[in-house]
């Protein structure tokens, strides 16, 4: 998490810019009578969104977050758009910590099954999509367990594990990892890989 915060500082993302703007607006009105802050629409990259069945879980978790509204979920890109006012939600905190703090909030609301992270620094065309057919992932817990087994590998930017489609996908930085590393991690976690042709 620290390294992601650091990278955010060096390469400001559109989200950080948006937050800075919002904060500047709050600061400029500091001497005025405080008015209810207007929530901003903020898009986050979501971790833990391993399968479509987890979209409802994300909505349920968001409902537990005071001052936060989940507006939409983009499963394909592992993104979700929330409405909240960062300055109200995280008073007296620096903007560069907002992602970390929002991540903590979401984790608390979801028993650590969801989180947020800074968007990938690599453009999509530099990433490689790996699909690995698997057997017997039959519940959301298994999907999450499978997801955890590969998502922690350095170079994995996004991942899914679907028990309906019997498939694990990962969007990877080919410079850092490869299919074999993913398959090994899956096997180590106890996931049975579907043999080609079967």
């Amino acid at each position: 998490m620290n390294s992601r915060t650091f990278s955010l500082r060096r390469t400001p993302s559109p989200l950080a810019v948006l937050m800075s703007v919002a904060l500047s607006a709050v600061a400029s009105r500091a001497d005025e009578k405080p008015a209810p802050a207007k929530p901003s629409e903020i898009k986050h990259t979501i971790t833990g969104l391993c399968c479509r069945e987890r979209e409802d879980d994300l909505r349920a978790a968001a409902k537990k977050m005071m001052g936060v509204t989940l507006l939409s979920v983009d499963f394909e890109n592992s993104e979700a758009t929330f409405a909240y006012d960062p300055a109200t939600l995280f008073p007296q905190e620096k903007p560069e910590r907002f992602i970390e703090l929002f991540d903590n909030l979401l984790k608390s609301a979801s028993t650590h099954t969801f989180g947020v992270k800074a968007p990938s620094r690599l453009p999509r065309d530099k990433l490689t999509l790996i699909e690995i057919p698997v057997l017997g992932l039959d519940c959301k817990g298994c999907c999450l367990g499978t997801y955890h087994s590969i998502y922690r590998i350095e170079g994995v930017e996004r991942a899914t594990a679907s028990f309906k489609e019997c498939r694990v996908t990962a969007l990877i930085d080919p410079a850092k990892t490869n299919r074999a590393a993913l398959e090994k991690a899956l096997k180590d976690a106890g996931v049975m890989l579907k043999e080609p042709g079967k």
Binding site: D57, C139, K140, G141, L144
Partner: protein
């Protein structure tokens, strides 16, 4: 046979004369006859040169102060009186001559024994046993489950029981432990808050605590008697990542847990959302049902399954797990029909509730292909477990009131109490990880307040001391305790601390720890104690104390009523458990684990059922006042389904022990053929007629055999199936020095060869070497059989009096026919247990009278208890 030398003969004659003059009123003619008897029939073998059997009569002096010497004379008497001596191969003396000598010896020994008892008293001062101590503290402070025994040094045992002063020594170690125990009891008894702890109500799902076996197919989640769609059973693929499932809430859905796996070395599930913070009474409710699992389908069960709940003592932070401290019970799990069980139990600090699929055979899916989806077999479902407590119907609790009456609890403000040391309070934390119950917030330091400490101390001690000491306490004794309170107050203690100091002293004093009885006939209070420690293994209650105080307790009809009341009270179960634990050695039921290859069907459920049977059977003998023949033979048994299956008796379902009429020709019925006795008398691998025969002689017939001579190798049974124990014993018995004793010991043991080490009936020995393939019989189909059937069992034998028996049926009939022997032994055992001393030679007449009176009144066990308690034996120190 050597001749008696003139010198030795003179010594003997001198001894005999001295003996006669010292204790007998025999005429000179009788004296001469006695002398003649010894010369004619005894000295040939028992003189200095031959001293057969180690007995040299010429050296046996009539000095009865020596217990060893006295015991030798008793043996001489018994051998002559029973006709055992002179031996069969020698000329028989005329019966009148035998009777004359026996009578003379009897009178002499009785007189000597009475002189000893007059000098020393019958029952010496003895301390409470560990069980008595624990029960007494429990009853004194209304702490019915406080665990104290385990912290006290083990008691010794003499004459078959731990209640005898000969075995109850006391040392600095005992005293140190008594101080600890007293502190622990006072900690629990004294209220430290003005209100009771918040009543906790918690519903716990087993799912959260068996995630690992759910993931690998040794358990499944069920909803509405079917599969839980959100957590399918593990198949070829186990569930991935237990942590992920816990995070996502897979185990928090309220689903039932269907468990296939029996507890084992690495699997002991607990309801670990809860660990006791406040020791006390808790109401437990649990819902169980049974089912048949067939590769993903939930079907009706094969019958009523049984789940076990136990109290599990956790150590430190609970990460190291715990083991069942004690079984709370076995509970029925009917087929596809949830049954709710409810009970109130005491739980100690850091105890939680454990679960086990008691009636299931060990079955493991985690390493099998297909796991739960390929498994077909029985399962037990646990819907939930509710825990509610601690339950208090009064506050402060009764234990506190015993100590402080109605004195108020006040919030102590240090500024108001300058120079007064406040009581120390332990900070209560939930130390067990994973559990969710937490202590109440502390609302300040509360303590007992007294406006007039010395007067209150005197008043409180005037009630407490007689109650704790189980008899009136002199004013001077109480004054000493009050002085100590005053001294502590002057030293700066607050009232509670000062009182606690003297309460602890009282609980460690000889007045509390010992049974103090007056010499001669017991007074009413001593009688109340003897009665209650006999039938409740604890202190007298208020009724007994009041009757003692009014001087009415020893009136025959009052005493009879009280015996009835005590026997009908649930506390009499303590007597049954304590007495049987020692008389029939039930305490040793877990002394060995049966060999798993030879006896794979053995389980803790079977063992607990064995013990429950023996206890229930004895209770039935008392309740129905059945006669002594029932000790060895009856037409009913007290069994549950587990035992019924073990015994091959059809038609018994469920875990509850109940009275079952036995089929004709069934070898069961009576203690002798109960699985508990048969397990206790075996070593877990093999049976031997020797220990079993010795057990029957000592425990049921009252004729304990002589210890084996030194340097005699024990017979080692052959589990390879090449030879039988009977064949090995035959070689052993060919040795003349062994033959005479084994002629008495072996026959009962031969008859009991009908049963294996876990009490199963057999016609052939089990073997792990040679033999034929073994049929499954009643063994659960999920239990693998690796043993074979070896040589056939021969259960026939010949009793020392030459009566023959072909099998266990005939042997039991022979024993039952002589119920006087059985009744006399039971009388002796109860008398030793009830009075806390061994029986002397001079008690024999009283025992014989007791037996006779009991038989005249029907011969029942309940009648015997009444007669014993009415007897002079019981009323005398």
């Amino acid at each position: 046979m050597s001749k008696l030398s003139p010198t030795l003969a003179r010594v003997l004659l001198w001894s005999l004369c001295a003996l006669v003059l010292s204790g007998s009123s025999r005429t000179r003619a009788d004296e001469a006859a006695t002398r003649g008897f010894f010369e004619a029939h005894c000295l040939k073998c028992h003189d200095t040169e031959t001293h057969k059997g180690g007995l040299d009569l010429t050296a046996l002096k009539p000095e009865f102060a020596s217990p060893e010497n006295f015991a030798r004379w008793v043996k001489v008497h018994d051998r002559i009186a029973s006709g055992e001596m002179p031996p069969r191969n020698q000329p028989r003396p005329p019966a009148a001559e035998i009777k004359s000598v026996a009578t003379w010896l009897n009178q002499t020994l009785t007189a000597a024994d009475r002189a000893r008892l007059d000098r020393d008293g019958r029952t010496l001062v003895r301390r409470m046993t560990r069980a008595e101590y624990e029960n007494t503290v429990r009853d004194l402070f209304d702490l019915p489950g406080i665990a104290l025994q385990g912290g006290l040094p083990a008691d010794g045992m003499a004459h078959g029981f731990d209640k005898n002063s000969d075995a109850l020594d006391i040392s600095h170690v005992n005293m140190a432990k008594y101080v600890e125990a007293a502190d622990h009891a006072l900690d629990l008894a004294i209220a430290t808050q003005p209100k009771p702890p918040t009543l906790l109500k918690q519903r716990i799902s087993l799912a959260r605590h068996v995630g690992h076996i759910l993931g690998n197919g040794d358990a499944v989640l069920l909803k509405d008697k079917g599969l839980d769609p959100n957590y399918p059973p593990a198949g070829d693929q186990p569930h991935i990542g237990q942590g992920a499932h816990e995070q996502i809430g897979s185990f928090n859905t309220g689903s039932s847990v269907g468990v296939f796996r029996h507890e084992d070395e690495s699997f002991n599930p607990y309801f670990l959302d809860f660990a006791t913070l406040y020791p006390g009474r808790y109401r437990i409710r649990a819902s169980f049902w049974g089912f048949q699992w067939d590769q993903g389908k939930v079907l009706p069960a094969r019958g009523i399954e049984a789940a076990r709940l136990s109290a599990v003592q956790l150590g430190e932070d609970g990460r190291g797990g715990g083991h069942p401290s004690y079984v709370l019970g076995y509970y029925d799990a009917p087929s596809l029909e949830a049954q709710m069980h409810e009970f109130v139990t005491w739980l100690n600090f850091k105890e939680t509730i454990g679960f086990n699929t008691a009636s299931l055979a060990p079955a493991l899916n985690y390493n099998r292909k297909g796991r739960a989806m390929a498994f077909t077999g029985p399962g037990i479902a646990c819907d939930w477990l509710d825990i509610e407590g601690p339950l208090h119907d009064v506050w402060p609790p009764r234990g506190h009131r015993v100590l402080f009456g109605e004195l108020p609890l006040i919030k102590l403000k240090p500024t108001d109490q300058k120079g007064v040391r406040a009581p120390r309070r332990k900070v209560l934390n939930q130390e067990i990880v994973h559990v969710t119950n937490r202590p109440d917030p502390v609302s300040g330091l509360w303590t007992v307040h007294s406006e007039q400490p010395p007067a209150d101390a005197d008043r409180l001690l005037a009630t407490f001391l007689p109650r704790a000491f189980r008899r009136p306490v002199e004013d001077s004794v109480r004054a000493q305790y009050v002085e100590q309170v005053t001294a502590r107050l002057k030293a700066g203690d607050c009232f509670e601390t000062a009182m606690r100091w003297v309460y602890r002293a009282a609980l460690c004093s000889p007045d509390f720890l010992h049974h103090l009885e007056p010499s001669g006939t017991l007074d009413d209070h001593a009688m109340a104690c003897r009665l209650s420690y006999f039938l409740w293994n604890s202190m007298p209650d208020e009724t007994l104390t009041e009757l003692a105080a009014s001087g009415k307790l020893r009136e025959a009809n009052v005493l009879r009523d009280q015996v009835e009341r005590l026997l009908n009270d649930p506390r009499s179960q303590r007597f049954i458990e304590d007495f049987l634990g020692q008389w029939l050695r039930l305490r040793q039921i877990a002394a060995n684990d049966p060999d798993r290859k030879l006896y794979p069907e053995f389980s803790p459920y079977l063992q607990d059922s064995m013990v429950a049977e023996t206890r229930a059977y004895f209770r039935e003998l008392i309740a129905r006042d059945l006669d002594a023949s029932y000790l060895v033979k009856s037409d009913f048994a007290m069994i549950n389904e587990k035992l019924a299956t073990h015994y091959g008796i059809p038609g018994v379902h469920g875990s509850a022990i109940r009275r079952v009429t036995l089929p004709p020709d069934c070898p069961r019925g009576g203690f002798l053929t109960q699985a508990s006795i048969l397990k206790i008398t075996a070593n877990g691998t093999t049976t031997s007629p020797v220990p079993r025969g010795a057990f029957v002689m000592a425990r049921l017939l009252g004729k304990p055999p002589e210890p084996p001579p030194p340097n005699i190798a024990a017979v080692e049974p052959d589990v390879q199936g090449a030879t039988t124990i009977r064949e090995q014993l035959a070689k052993h018995r060919s040795d003349a020095s062994c033959a005479s004793c084994h002629a008495k010991i072996d026959p009962p043991g031969f008859a009991l060869e009908t049963f294996d080490v876990i009490g199963g009936e057999r016609t052939r020995y089990r073997s792990i070497g040679q033999g034929d393939p073994a049929p499954r019989g009643s063994i659960d189909p999920f239990i693998g059989i690796g043993f074979k059937l070896g040589p056939p069992v021969d259960a026939s034998g010949v009793l020392p009096d030459q009566r023959k028996f072909r099998d266990i049926h005939e042997f039991r009939s022979l024993l039952a026919a002589d119920s006087t022997v059985l009744l006399k032994n039971l009388t002796q055992q109860l008398a030793i247990y009830g009075t806390g001393r061994d029986l002397g030679f001079s008690d024999r007449e009283e025992i014989d009278d007791l037996v006779e009176r009991t038989q005249k009144n029907g011969g029942g066990v309940r009648t015997l208890i009444h007669e014993l308690i009415q007897s002079k034996l019981f009323h005398t120190k």
